[in-house]
């Protein structure tokens, strides 16, 4: 075994055993997140978690709210430009959350984000996606982009689990670096599936409403 191999193993082991749980603990403390599962249970089966997006911490907090055995099998889909800026972010994205990084600046025809996601998730991993396509500046849930529909169309058997994250835009608003430790909520709702022949707009509308409904709980 060469030095490079050893080093890689050590980095992965550290990420799995120490950095990951530590980061999850820190995220839980800073977001003060109370996690609720409504008509849905944590499971290691393949799923697509889709959530509203207001802060850079969203992916981290959803990831940290999952039980450890589910967490290891769940990969957030994140923007490459943000998560590769700086060594710490890159380390976290690649080794700790095992994120699927999407290049937002350069979208190729044969390498569309949905194809990348489908390929990367294989038959093992679940995904965390933010169908709004970016952080909402005001905190309200914007219209969903079509990515979620194409994901569901290609893998119609997967459960799409709506997630609502409350108050995260106040913990780490746009343009801020340091979080303020307010309390937040993460609510997982009942899964939805793409109906046969359901039009794109209807499905996206239904998905958005599924997220919004959790807000009232």
């Amino acid at each position: 075994m060469g030095f490079g191999e050893l080093r890689r193993k050590w980095t992965e082991g550290m990420a799995l055993k120490i950095t990951g749980p530590l980061l999850a603990l820190l995220a839980k403390f800073f977001s003060g997140a109370s996690v609720r599962w409504v008509d849905c249970h944590p499971d290691t089966c393949q799923r697509i978690y889709f959530a509203n997006h207001t802060s850079h911490l969203d992916a981290l907090v959803i990831w940290a709210s999952l039980p450890p055995e589910v967490r290891g099998l769940t990969r957030p889909v994140a923007a490459k430009d943000y998560w590769t800026a700086g060594r710490i972010r890159e380390y976290l994205a690649r080794h700790v959350f095992n994120a699927i990084l999407i290049d937002r600046t350069e979208i190729k025809v044969h390498q569309s984000p949905v194809d990348v996601m489908i390929r990367e998730m294989g038959d093992k991993y679940s995904l965390i996606v933010f169908p709004e396509g970016g952080r909402s500046p005001t905190g309200e849930v914007r219209e969903f982009k079509s990515g979620l529909y194409y994901l569901a169309k290609k893998r119609p058997e997967l459960e799409a689990v709506p997630v609502y994250i409350d108050n995260m835009n106040r913990i780490l608003p746009r343009g801020e670096v340091l979080p303020v430790p307010l309390l937040s909520r993460v609510i997982f709702g009942p899964p939805i599936w793409l109906e046969k022949g359901e039009p794109k707009e209807d499905f996206l509308q239904r998905a958005r409403e599924a997220v919004l409904r959790l807000k009232e709980l």
């Binding site: 003060g32 109370s34 609720r36 303020v180």
Partner: protein
């Protein structure tokens, strides 16, 4: 001070080593709970709480008694919260005063989180909030931890008293103004200031009781300071219960029906009087004489009422029942400590003023500040 009296040895300031052997000297971390008064007080509370738990447990097991199940459930949750509070207070007493202060600091931090979470803020407040959470709050409890023993550390005492009401109070609006967002400026500033003052400043007076040199006037000097803090927390909790119990009387004059339908004039008067009686009967555990212990307990009960009704008003305005609504299954931390926040500064100040009037301290004042009139310390 009598003119012409000899200058005290060691110059105008007293020798700090004077008390270095004392068991409750803040610099001298050893804790002794060997004093029988402390043991009797803690054991007494344990027994009463044990009986209450047993009764509540039995009643919960027998639904046929016809008691209101919702009421019983509230009672049960309260008892659980008291066990938690008691074990925190007792465990920290046994270890070190710094542990007690740190635990109070964490509780305060959590209460502030709950307060600010329920208060609408704008993105422009973010930096100010960061200072409030990560600078103002820790510094306040570090100041408590540094200890201010009467006038030997007057400077620390003044820092403790002025840090939040002067420095933090003035810097919060400045930081928000620098964020260049004038919308509802005064309202946002006032809300953050109120949160900091109530959840951190007022609450920090409870652990600050550990800095009052009550052992010099108490019978049973060992752990006299801890006993005073324990007595205070006990009186606050007791007054909450007694006010609730008195409010169950058939005649009711509800004081503020919109804000709190359960707080009645009968509850207030009965609560204050009965808390005073219990407090007076526990005077052997305090540095105070009989009448003073009763009076202090009465004031604590009055301030507990004030804290409860004020924080209820905030909750009604925000349309929630508990501060803990965000954290399902828990009552909020702030719901548990609202009465403590209001009672602590008043209890601290009155204890301080009373100590200052004791002859034991008159000597010290004249030693330290011979050019000042004797009551300067008040």
């Amino acid at each position: 001070m009598v003119a012409g009296a000899a200058a005290p040895p060691g110059g105008p300031f007293p020798d700090k080593r004077e008390n270095s052997e004392h068991p409750t000297n803040p610099r001298n971390g050893t804790k002794t709970v060997t004093d029988p008064r402390t043991l009797i007080l803690v054991l007494g509370v344990l027994v009463v709480l044990g009986i209450a738990t047993a009764v509540a447990h039995l009643l919960r097991r027998r639904p046929e008694t016809g008691l209101n199940p919702a009421l019983l459930e509230t009672f049960w949750l309260r008892i659980r919260a008291w066990w938690l509070l008691l074990s925190i207070v007792a465990a920290t007493f046994l270890i070190h005063r710094v542990v007690t202060i740190a635990v109070f600091g964490l509780i305060s931090f959590w209460a502030l989180r709950e307060f600010i979470t329920l208060t609408p803020t704008r993105p422009g407040d973010h930096r100010a909030l960061f200072w409030v959470f990560f600078v103002a709050t820790p510094v306040q409890f570090v100041l408590v931890g540094l200890g201010f023993d009467w006038f030997t550390k007057l400077a620390t005492l003044i820092w403790f008293v002025t840090f939040i009401p002067v420095y933090a109070f003035l810097l919060i609006p400045v930081r928000i103004a620098l964020a260049d967002d004038p919308k509802r400026f005064l309202e946002r500033t006032a809300k953050i200031q109120a949160g900091l003052l109530i959840c951190v400043y007022c609450f920090s007076y409870a652990p600050a009781l550990l800095n009052l040199p009550v052992e010099k006037v108490s019978a049973g000097a060992a752990s006299a300071r801890e006993r005073l803090l324990f007595f205070f927390v006990l009186m606050v909790q007791l007054s909450d219960v007694l006010q609730y119990a008195w409010a169950q009387l058939p005649w009711k004059h509800v004081l503020a029906p919109t804000i709190s339908p359960t707080r009645t004039l009968e509850g207030l008067v009965g609560g204050v009087l009965s808390t005073s009686l219990v407090g007076a009967s526990l005077c052997w555990a305090t540095p105070f004489p009989f009448w003073m212990a009763g009076l202090m307990s009465g004031v604590v009960a009055l301030m507990s009422f004030a804290g409860g009704i004020t924080m209820s008003a905030v909750k009604r305005d925000r349309g929630v029942k508990d501060y803990g609504t965000l954290v399902e299954g828990h009552g909020g931390v702030l719901d548990r400590i609202d009465s403590l926040c209001f009672a602590a500064p008043v209890f601290f100040h009155l204890s301080y003023a009373w100590l200052a009037s004791r002859p034991e301290f008159q000597v010290q004042i004249s030693k330290g500040f011979s050019w000042l009139p004797p009551y300067w310390g008040m």
